[in-house]
């Protein structure tokens, strides 16, 4: 025993932090991680692999035995692959134009501005606009082209809507990659006699390949997790896993079936997560340069090709803008498609009948933002600044709920917190907890990123001057990360405003959300009200973003808002 104890002492006790405040925070964080991440997830596993007390595969086989479910699995993979490809191609085209076509500042700002729209919108926006444009009485199909046989439901529409919604992720990823390729490397290839096409083929494209792979995986995961678009646009002939799981639970009240379906969704989602995190993200080329090269005129494309590229990009951007104008228009006419008389009646509905949803959403988003912020800072600080046993486990586990499709997280919470010991279904707590442990991860990432820029010696300086860990954290670390943290908080808020895939399982009569009301209004075919709600969310989100930018400008802090984190989920 003493020998064992000595080993224990050496391996475990000596690695425990000496500062009691740190030790306490680690214990508290682990308690929450176990309760709100691992415990719910384990419930999905249990429901999937357990039948009358035994381990079994029969639940999975049973679900996959149904043609519809198996179809949904393949459909999900097909859709995700197609969205990954088309979104990456479109994103690369935009990124290349933006970085390598010598755009004027104005155009570059215009592209950046329109491209973030889909990222900060409520989930149904593109889908609703698609129906307004291409539906039976659609503005384009019916009013413009006179077709009334076009079927807006199915793979083609989901693919189109998801590509528009998610390609900005590819754009932001690839823009960083392309901007990181030193143009002098391309200059070198030119000087060795290569043509523009050859330079692109042999230098630019190969250097961007890890970025392309990363972008593909990000889009694949985003599409796999997307719940809102297929719910509206897929129709009955193109089922996908998240919507099937939703219908299994809300339509058939089959919680086990929903759990099994979400487990099946978890398999590709987890593979992509692992691939992205441990393989692609380590494959980036580092362009080796000596001193920062002299400014060089970028010569990747002729000015004529550049103009053509820019025109294409502007056309795409304009059609995104068109969707938003259409959405707003639909919210102020009596009945889109039939009666185009201007009215405010949809907004009257929003601010009377819908007022509770607005209040609830703002309340939950605000509380979620504050708690998520505290959680994000503490975990981010611990994992990046402290060494303790279980540190890397904490880092990975804190990212799980963020990385998994919302449907899985929602179903897991529904199962886990419906019964004693913790019965919080139907309360605001369950929705807030869901937001904190899902979107708080963006707070962790922001904190880690900022802390990496702060030299460790700054904290050591504080220690050497007699300050303990708590004082140092309060007086040095927090003030330094505050500006960046604030933008992280804004992201948590925005995502709380626009989320649906997880929370749709968690709302109740007592607590409901705007996004859920949008879905209700869609199914009740009150499209005008749905459009009005959506417009409201876009406006609120815009106000938040303007506020964050003002704040950042005021404090000139590091870490401008990272739009790639605002992915409607």
């Amino acid at each position: 025993m003493p020998a064992f104890f000595n080993v224990f002492k050496k391996k475990v006790l000596t690695k425990l932090p000496k500062d009691p405040a740190i030790l306490l925070s680690i214990i508290v964080i682990w308690f929450f991680l176990l309760l709100f991440i691992l415990f719910p997830l384990s419930k999905i596993f249990i429901l999937t692999f357990e039948k009358s007390g035994h381990f079994t595969f029969s639940n999975i086989l049973e679900i996959l035995g149904k043609r519809n479910h198996l179809q949904a699995f393949w459909n999900s993979l097909l859709l995700a692959t197609l969205v990954g490809l088309s979104g990456t191609i479109l994103g690369f085209f935009f990124a290349f134009t933006s970085v390598r076509a010598n755009l004027s500042k104005g155009w570059s700002k215009f592209l950046d501005g329109t491209i973030i729209l889909p990222l900060i919108s409520p989930p149904f926006t593109t889908a609703i606009a698609m129906i307004f444009s291409f539906g039976r009485r659609g503005l384009i199909t019916y009013n413009l082209l006179g077709i009334n046989t076009f079927n807006v439901y199915g793979l083609h529409s989901v693919l189109f809507a998801e590509t528009i919604t998610f390609f900005p992720i590819a754009y932001l990823t690839l823009k960083g990659v392309l901007a990181g390729i030193d143009p002098t490397v391309e200059d070198m290839a030119f000087s060795l006699g290569s043509s523009r096409g050859r330079v692109f083929r042999t230098i630019t494209l190969p250097l961007a390949i890890p970025g392309l792979a990363n972008s593909f995986l990000l889009l694949f995961a985003a599409s796999l997790a997307d719940f809102a678009t297929p719910l509206i646009l897929a129709g009955s002939r193109f089922p996908v896993l998240p919507t099937e799981a939703f219908l299994q639970i809300t339509g058939l009240f089959d919680i086990r079936g929903g759990a099994v379906l979400s487990f099946i969704l978890l398999v590709p989602a987890f593979s992509v997560f692992v691939l992205q995190r441990y393989w692609v993200s380590r494959k980036y080329y580092v362009t080796i340069t000596g001193k920062a090269g002299a400014q060089t005129q970028i010569k990747s494309v002729t000015s004529r090709t550049g103009k053509i590229f820019l025109t294409v990009c502007i056309l795409v951007s304009v059609s995104i803008l068109y969707f938003y104008i259409l959405l707003f228009y639909a919210s102020i006419v009596k009945a889109f498609g039939a009666n185009y008389q201007i009215t405010l009646k949809h907004y009257t509905v929003v601010f009377t009948e819908g007022l509770k949803a607005i209040k609830d959403t703002l309340f939950i988003a605000t509380i979620g933002m504050l708690l998520g912020g505290v959680y994000g800072v503490v975990v981010g600080y611990l994992v990046s600044k402290k060494t303790f046993i279980s540190r890397s486990a904490m880092e990975i586990i804190s990212m799980i709920n963020y990385s998994l499709p919302g449907t899985i997280v929602g179903i897991a919470y529904l199962i886990a917190f419906n019964n004693p010991p913790i019965m919080i279904t139907g309360t605001a707590i369950i929705i807030i907890a869901c937001y904190v442990f899902r979107y708080g991860a963006t707070g962790i990432r922001t904190t880690v990123a900022i802390l990496q820029q702060i030299d460790p010696s700054i904290e050591e300086a504080s220690f050497s001057l007699g300050a303990n860990a708590t004082t140092t954290f309060k007086r040095i670390t927090i003030p330094l990360i505050l500006p960046g943290l604030f933008s992280g908080l804004g992201i948590v808020f925005i995502r709380s405003m626009t989320a649906i895939s997880a929370t749709i399982f968690l709302v109740s009569i007592n607590w409901t959300l705007i996004t859920v009301r949008i879905l209700d209004k869609m199914t009740e075919l009150e499209l005008g009200v749905a459009a009005a709600f959506s417009t409201l969310v876009v406006v609120i989100v815009f106000i938040v973003i303007i506020f964050i930018n003002l704040f950042l400008r005021l404090f000139r802090g590091p870490g401008a808002i990272d739009m790639s984190n605002i992915l409607g989920g």
Binding site: E460, S464, L465, G466, P479
Partner: protein, 364 residues
């Protein structure tokens, strides 16, 4: 302020390196620093000097050994309980605090009254010549000024000991010379026991009471600059402090107090008390460039060589001479005499016999 000593006893520290595996960063270091003295840890990069300093500060924990500040064993004490002043290589100023707030930080932590705080901050800012900078922020002042803020911040809390980690390496050459005498002046006027880490031997010689030469995690020799230069205990120290020539030799006779060695054509007598040297043994003999002299014609007790390089440096001239296929560096401080010697000239080379050194320790 009462100065106290610093005592390191059998300090060991091993790091886990991703590629190299376990690396002994500090290997059985013993060092005693008397109160109010400044000792420099000098050595090539990666020799363990910064790790040693960081263990004294409490930023790292030794695997084995004890650290005493005065009578107190601080080995297991947190950094914030040790009452030390630390000056970082990159200064580590708090970027969000003004110069005044940076310097006042440690005093605020101690809970000193606002009046006393103000008085002490102003006093120390005056001492480092930064009166009037109180409201500025770190990014608004020059590198040299930042350095002085870092110093002021470290000493305003009246630490028991002052630790400086390459504090001058981010300054340009001229400012470096100026600032190091400032640091020395402050250290002496405040009677602070200090450890100073650098890899610059000139800096070390200029600022220290004593220098500890480190290599591969060990202290090779501790002594004053003169001791290290004139009586190095190993080949490493001889080569690290100043320049030295190495010549192949064969022992002809070994006695208790001297040995006779043959270097090329001549035999030299070297006084030594080193043990274990036997006749017929081959070894290297060392001599500093300023103890080798040139002559127009090789006398009987001189070696013959050809000048292959001549560099005029103002107060001195450096020659490179080929002696039987071996390169010998020679420094002459006699400009008039040196003018007589030309490139490719055949010359006599005279080694000052009492300056020849031999080592049985390599030191690495």
């Amino acid at each position: 302020m009462e100065a106290i000593g610093i005592h390191l006893n059998n300090i060991h520290k091993t790091f886990l390196h991703r590629v190299k595996g376990e690396v002994k960063a500090v290997n059985n270091v013993n060092l005693n620093i008397e109160h109010a003295k400044l000792v420099t840890l000098l050595g090539p990069s990666g020799c363990g000097k910064t790790t040693t300093l960081r263990m004294v500060a409490g930023f790292e924990q030794p695997d084995k050994g004890t650290i005493f500040l005065g009578e107190e064993n601080v080995t297991n004490l947190l950094a914030n309980k040790r009452n030390i002043g630390f000056v970082f290589q990159n200064y580590a100023l708090f970027p969000h605090l003004s110069i005044y707030e940076n310097v006042a930080y440690g005093l605020k932590v101690q809970g000193i009254s606002p009046q006393e705080e103000k008085k002490r901050v102003n006093e120390i800012l005056a001492m480092v010549g930064l009166t009037g900078y109180e409201a500025q922020f770190p990014h608004q002042i020059s590198g040299g000024e930042q350095q002085r803020v870092a110093l002021a911040r470290a000493i305003v809390i009246r630490p028991k000991v002052l630790l400086l980690d390459e504090p001058l390496s981010n300054l340009d050459a001229k400012l470096r010379v100026h600032t190091r005498s400032e640091i020395r002046r402050l250290q002496q006027s405040l009677n602070m026991t200090s450890i100073y880490v650098t890899h610059d031997q000139e800096e070390a010689m200029a600022i220290s009471d004593r220098i500890a030469i480190m290599n591969k995690g060990k202290i090779i020799q501790v002594g004053s600059a003169e001791e290290l230069y004139f009586q190095p205990n190993s080949e490493f120290v001889a080569k690290f402090i100043g320049r030295i020539n190495s010549l192949p030799a064969e022992v002809q006779e070994a006695d208790d107090s001297f040995i006779l060695v043959k270097i090329f054509s001549h035999t030299y007598k070297i006084s030594t008390t080193l043990d274990g040297i036997k006749p017929q043994q081959k070894m290297n003999v060392f001599i500093r460039p300023e103890f080798v002299q040139l002559s127009k014609q090789a006398e009987e007790n001189e070696l013959k060589g050809i000048i292959t390089e001549k560099v005029f440096l103002g107060e001195k001239v450096e020659f490179t001479v080929d002696v039987y296929g071996h390169t010998l560096n020679i420094t002459s401080y006699n400009a008039v005499e040196s003018a007589k010697y030309l490139l490719n000239q055949e010359v006599g080379v005279c080694l000052a016999e009492k300056e020849l050194k031999i080592f049985t320790e390599k030191g690495d």
